[in-house]
């Protein structure tokens, strides 16, 4: 096992991607994810990889599309406004069934917004970022260790299912340093892809990487087939963590940085005798519907803590079929709730239940 080192979240993403076998990175400068590009710019030339600062976010995602067409792992990283620009390309990746890794270190929006942490791209990420019917894997790391671990996993499942993966972090996660044990180097994919455009070698009919299907019957069939794969992904790849849920009467639902804040609030609330726990989605797509539905059988209410005006809360309400009240504790625009704010919300719910 590798030894523990201190790393920034953004650097952990970059190193983990390299360790997972990714040798092609394309990006465009934007705060707060620049450390990913800076790390790649230093490292890739030394290991025979590609670091290319593209002319735009749009070009960067299309360069990723080019590499992905050859079956090799490729990635890009950006922050919210840049991800909007990449959405066209992500739709084409999905339409051509190409794997890729897109890192989104979120900042506040809409528009140019701000540069402080946010989770306001939840809808964008989980509803299929771009035009058309599709999904991407969405991973929400809540520590620098998870930044590293989930980067590798995001690449792995992207290739397994031939889908784009998005690592959905936020400015805090990207900028903070924590001890991390980096994963072992692997090169588990990218060598034998019969579908890839690498030259026919005059040994087979040509491969075509494409998302254009002018015959509606054919396009419908391809959509149906793709969603079969999505079903499999939902069954096999959903990740979440339960914290103090055994006897919980209030269930906090939170991911990323706000899950960290909520943890403090839960510890404090428990010390005051309140039975509160947390379900932390680690994949936002697929969303952990089953554990939430199961929790709804036991708890009295839910509390979503997120850095947006209430986005994941819709998925929670859907997962539990609105069978329990679901409250929202949120800050936006780059603000992050203090543990005390979350605690106050938990206390209010606990008192409401007594009344």
């Amino acid at each position: 096992m590798n030894e523990k080192v201190m790393m920034k979240g953004n650097e952990a993403i970059a190193e983990a991607a390299i360790l997972a076998g990714c040798r092609h990175y394309f990006g465009y400068p934007i705060t707060p994810q620049t450390e990913v590009a800076a790390y790649m710019a230093k490292k890739m030339p030394k290991i025979g990889g590609t670091f290319l600062q593209a002319e735009s976010e749009i070009a960067a995602i299309n360069m990723v599309y080019g590499v992905a067409s050859t079956g090799k792992p490729a990635m890009t990283s950006s922050s919210s406004p840049g991800i909007s620009l990449k959405c066209e390309g992500i739709s084409y990746l999905a339409g051509a069934d190409l794997p890729a890794l897109i890192v989104n270190v979120q900042r506040g929006g809409p528009g140019l917004g701000g540069i402080q942490p946010s989770q306001s791209d939840y809808f964008l990420a989980t509803r299929g970022p771009g035009h058309g019917d599709f999904h991407v894997f969405v991973f929400a790391p809540a520590s620098v260790q998870e930044m590293a671990d989930l980067t590798g996993r995001a690449l792995h499942v992207a290739w397994k299912y031939r889908m784009p993966s998005m690592l959905l972090a936020d400015g805090t996660m990207g900028q903070m340093m924590e001890p991390v044990v980096l994963p072992e180097a692997a090169d588990a994919f990218g060598s034998d892809n019969p579908w890839a455009a690498v030259g026919t070698g005059m040994k087979r009919p040509h491969n075509v990487i494409n998302s254009l299907y002018l015959a509606p019957e054919e396009l419908e069939r391809i959509n149906f087939e793709r969603f079969k794969r999505y079903e499999l992904a939902e069954a096999e790849e959903t990740l979440w963590e339960e914290y103090m849920m055994e006897d919980a009467e209030i269930c906090v639902v939170s991911y990323g940085i706000t899950a960290r804040v909520s943890r403090n609030a839960i510890v404090e609330a428990r010390s005051r005798g309140i039975k509160v726990g947390m379900i932390r989605p680690i994949t936002l797509w697929p969303f952990p519907k089953a554990p939430l539905a199961a929790a709804a059988e036991k708890v009295k209410s839910f509390l979503c803590v997120e850095l947006n005006m209430g986005q994941m809360i819709e998925d929670v309400e859907l997962a539990i079929r609105c069978s329990r009240p679901v409250d929202l504790c949120c800050r936006v625009g780059g603000m992050i709730p203090a543990p005390d704010e979350v605690l106050a919300h938990i206390m209010k719910l606990a008192e409401g239940e007594k009344a």
Binding site: E55, G66, G89, L212
Partner: protein, 245 residues
């Protein structure tokens, strides 16, 4: 006996182009170049959005369909992943000179070792004849029904001249295919653009002035003449960059 054969680098699919359209000629020239250089097995082509969107069905090599204007970025990704392969993009004027101009200029500036075949027919063909960035002043199109007016619609873009201001490109030439003589010159240019890539010389682009009789509202014969009369004066043929010359 000499038999006029279809190049091997073209598939058996029936071309989807209108009568009198010169895309077919250029497809053939590209395929002949690939055949003669013996590179089909290691060539990856990028198709654009526009009339040649289905080019992925027509070339026998591996093909990738790009989003509108992004073929040079996709080609860059492919070439970086497969530096020993031959990568070409085939793009029209809307794709290359309008929505994708940023990618065109940046890829040329990087001197990316790829080949671009640029079809300039001064119109958006697939969507039914709208004004292109290369439409001539006074040219009547669906979206310039009174003729392109420089006061409100600006002037046509000369891609070869524009790219020739950059240090990056290795080879830039403008040709046309409206006569046997010109087809032969076009063939030579296209083959050179591929040979350059094999030799590692860097970014090569061949602009082909092309006819669109359907959307120009002309007979095929008149369209070929219009290239001489109207297009070449605006877009002079010739070599705009040849790093070895």
């Amino acid at each position: 006996m000499v038999v006029f054969e279809k190049p091997k680098a073209l598939t058996d699919a029936v071309l989807s182009y209108c009568p009198g359209c010169t895309h077919g000629i250029v497809h053939r020239l590209v395929a002949e170049a690939i055949d003669e250089l013996g590179i089909e097995g290691k060539t990856v082509g990028i198709a654009p959005v526009g009339c040649s969107v289905m080019a992925y069905n027509f070339f026998s090599c591996d093909m990738i369909e790009a989003s509108h204007g992004r073929a040079p970025a996709v080609a860059t990704g492919v070439k970086r992943a497969l530096p020993d392969n031959i990568v070409f993009a085939y793009q029209g004027d809307g794709d290359l000179a309008s929505i994708g101009l940023c990618e065109t200029v940046s890829t040329a500036a990087r001197g990316e070792n790829i080949t671009i075949i640029f079809i300039n027919n001064a119109i958006y063909g697939m969507t039914g004849g709208q004004m292109a960035p290369t439409s001539l002043v006074g040219q009547v199109t669906q979206t310039s029904p009174y003729g392109r007016d420089p006061k409100t619609q600006g002037y046509p873009i000369r891609i070869c001249e524009l790219l020739a201001t950059l240090d990056g490109p290795a080879y830039l030439e403008r040709v046309t295919v409206n006569s046997v003589k010109n087809v032969k010159r076009a063939k030579k240019a296209i083959k050179k653009a591929f040979q350059n890539q094999i030799d590692g010389k860097g970014f090569s682009l061949v602009e082909v002035l092309s006819a669109c009789p359907t959307n120009w509202g002309m007979t095929p014969q008149k369209a070929l003449e219009w290239i001489d009369e109207a297009m070449i004066p605006q877009y002079p043929l010739g070599v705009y960059r040849d790093k070895e010359a």
